[in-house]
């Protein structure tokens, strides 16, 4: 399939899911799919910076959590959810840009970037976890420490705080956001900027020698990823009307990496399917008492790193195209960035 055909097919499929799901799912099912969509947005953020930008963030949850808390604090103070949603994207974007400047302009190696991002999310967890008590109140919003913030007001029709969204409308919002982020990332990747980003992943030295300031490109990629993760955090906080420091937890960070690794690096569809699949698996495990979810997730991660490092979507694409030797680092041919040159 050419780039345009696959893009059109994906958007059509997304619209079918967006409009069709409320017709076939009951309320409980729809609520579950809403949180899956929020997690899929988070997966896209990780999949974009890792699979295309080659940036190994182990703390994408820092931006996810920051987005969620930003939304919660802002909406409790403002009432209308319109500006809080924008802030929940803007603030993580700026924070990611700042952290990205610190890392990329410091020429920090990949493994260290992993450790630094992990440390940042641990710092946020520690700080937010210790904000119990009246002292830590921003305007009308008590941060609540490890208990988190209950009764976060839901999204409302933009500009009208008296019309909160019902569950079906919330689904439209979450799935619509997922579709929009997907379209945005496809557009970014098809642009000249996106091609340079992929080129930098392939060979940073060569890109520098061709005159590209790779630090700036990575910073922008990282900031975009931060903003998308922030949006996911906003959707998540809105879905449960609740946010707590676990959003910054290492378990959440690991989950996001698993979505992307299972679904497939260097694709956008992979992280989405990975998020839905893994979240579904977790909900199935949660419904029984036999096996612990961490045990299963950990085993999945180890097995995929050792045996299927390229993830499921590239493997399936490889089967269809009979392209031998699709492996990590060379997944560009499976990557949906094909546009006529």
């Amino acid at each position: 399939m050419t780039g345009w055909a696959s893009f059109a097919a994906m958007v059509a499929a997304g619209l079918v899911v967006l409009l069709g799901l409320p017709l076939v799912f009951d309320l409980f099912g729809l609520l579950q799919m809403t949180v899956f969509a929020a997690m899929a947005v988070l997966a896209l953020s990780q999949g974009f910076i890792w699979g295309y930008g080659g940036i190994m963030s182990f703390g994408q949850t820092a931006f996810f959590g920051l987005g969620g808390y930003t939304y919660a604090v802002a909406v409790m103070n403002m009432g209308d959810s319109t500006v809080p949603v924008l802030l929940s994207v803007l603030l993580p974007t700026l924070f990611a840009a700042l952290l990205g400047y610190f890392m990329f302009y410091g020429r920090i190696s990949d493994a260290y970037i992993g450790v630094i991002t992990l440390t940042v999310t641990v710092i946020l967890f520690n700080v937010v976890n210790s904000t119990a008590g009246d002292f830590y109140t921003i305007g009308n919003a008590p941060l609540g420490g490890f208990n988190g913030m209950p009764s976060v007001p839901p999204l409302n029709v933009p500009g009208d705080p008296s019309s909160p969204l019902d569950p079906q409308q919330t689904w439209y919002a979450a799935m619509g956001a997922l579709l929009l982020v997907y379209i945005l990332l496809r557009a970014v990747l098809a642009s000249r900027f996106g091609r340079v980003v992929v080129a930098i992943r392939e060979n940073e030295t060569r890109a520098q020698l061709l005159g590209y300031d790779t630090r700036l490109y990575k910073l922008i990629v990282f900031a975009i990823g931060g903003g998308i993760a922030g949006l996911a955090g906003c959707l998540y906080a809105n879905w449960g009307s609740f946010i707590s420091p676990t959003v910054f937890g290492l378990a959440t960070s690991a989950q996001v990496l698993i979505y992307v690794l299972v679904g497939g690096l260097g694709t956008l569809l992979g992280p989405i399917l990975g998020a839905v699949g893994i979240q579904y698996l977790i909900s199935v495990i949660g419904a029984q008492e036999m096996v612990n979810a961490n045990l299963v997730l950990g085993a999945v991660l180890v097995v995929f790193v050792l045996l299927v490092p390229q993830g499921l979507v590239p493997v399936v694409q490889g089967l269809f195209r009979r392209v031998p030797g699709v492996r990590r680092g060379q997944v560009a041919e499976a990557a949906p960035v094909e546009v006529e040159l």
Binding site: R192, V196, V198, A199, Q208, L210, Y212, A332, E333, L341
Partner: protein
């Protein structure tokens, strides 16, 4: 006196206690083709990396058309019109040949212009037939040409090639030599090489490095005839 295209003034590079390049003065005219040669460890590759911004000189200056570029970032040097091919092939292995060249051409100008330059460069290097192939799957010699194509697609004023013929078959070496002569019709070049046969094919002024300094600088035939150069290459030089 005209300003040289590229000039090194007292360029020095120390690693810990070792001085790899020691106070080298060097000048390249517009449109000149210059070869840097020397035995292993002579400092030619270190000198090359100082010119390209991959290493920051411990002392001395590098000037491009009189403008100080000492210690500039590699991407800044590239933007001033210097195209660089490194010793180890640096290509985008996961991208196609066409995409490799396109990324190089796309840094400036419109997308249409970049596509035109890409097409012309592929044609010029006879890579059009394999334009859709993934570079990681190509033979070594072809990968070298893809890299040269990418270097040329940026339309540089000065082209720096580090061992462009390394690891090539005899036919490929002949074609690369012809290509370098052709590039020299429109560009100034510096070629680092240790294969004397190859240097004879592209016949130019040669700068011989030894022990981190310039030993001689002269026309290729005279350099070849120089007993001091022969001693260096055969390892007879008394320390």
């Amino acid at each position: 006196m005209t300003v040289p295209l590229l000039e090194a003034q007292g360029a020095t590079m120390r690693f810990g206690g070792v001085t790899a390049v020691n106070g080298v003065n060097f000048a390249l005219r517009e449109m000149e083709l210059r070869c840097l040669i020397g035995p292993n460890g002579a400092g030619k590759s270190t000198f090359f990396k100082m010119l390209t911004g991959q290493l920051k000189p411990s002392a001395g200056r590098i000037l491009l058309r009189g403008r100080d570029i000492t210690g500039a970032e590699p991407h800044q040097i590239a933007r001033l019109g210097v195209g660089i091919k490194t010793q180890v092939p640096n290509v985008f292995d996961g991208l196609s040949v066409r995409e490799n060249v396109f990324v190089a051409a796309a840094r400036r100008g419109s997308a249409r212009q970049a596509r035109r330059i890409t097409g012309e460069t592929l044609e010029r290097l006879r890579l059009t037939a394999i334009a859709a192939r993934i570079v990681g799957q190509l033979a070594h010699g072809q990968r070298q040409w893809v890299e040269i194509a990418a270097v040329l697609a940026q339309e540089p004023d000065l082209v720096l090639l580090d061992e462009p013929a390394a690891g090539m078959t005899h036919e490929e070496v002949l074609r690369t030599a012809a290509l370098i002569r052709e590039i020299n019709q429109t560009h100034a070049l510096i070629v680092v090489e240790h294969d004397m046969q190859f240097i004879r094919m592209i016949a130019s002024t040669v700068t011989v490095f030894n022990g981190g300094a310039i030993l001689v600088e002269d026309d290729v035939e005279r350099v070849m005839a120089d007993p001091a150069v022969r001693d260096v290459y055969l390892g007879k030089q008394a320390a």
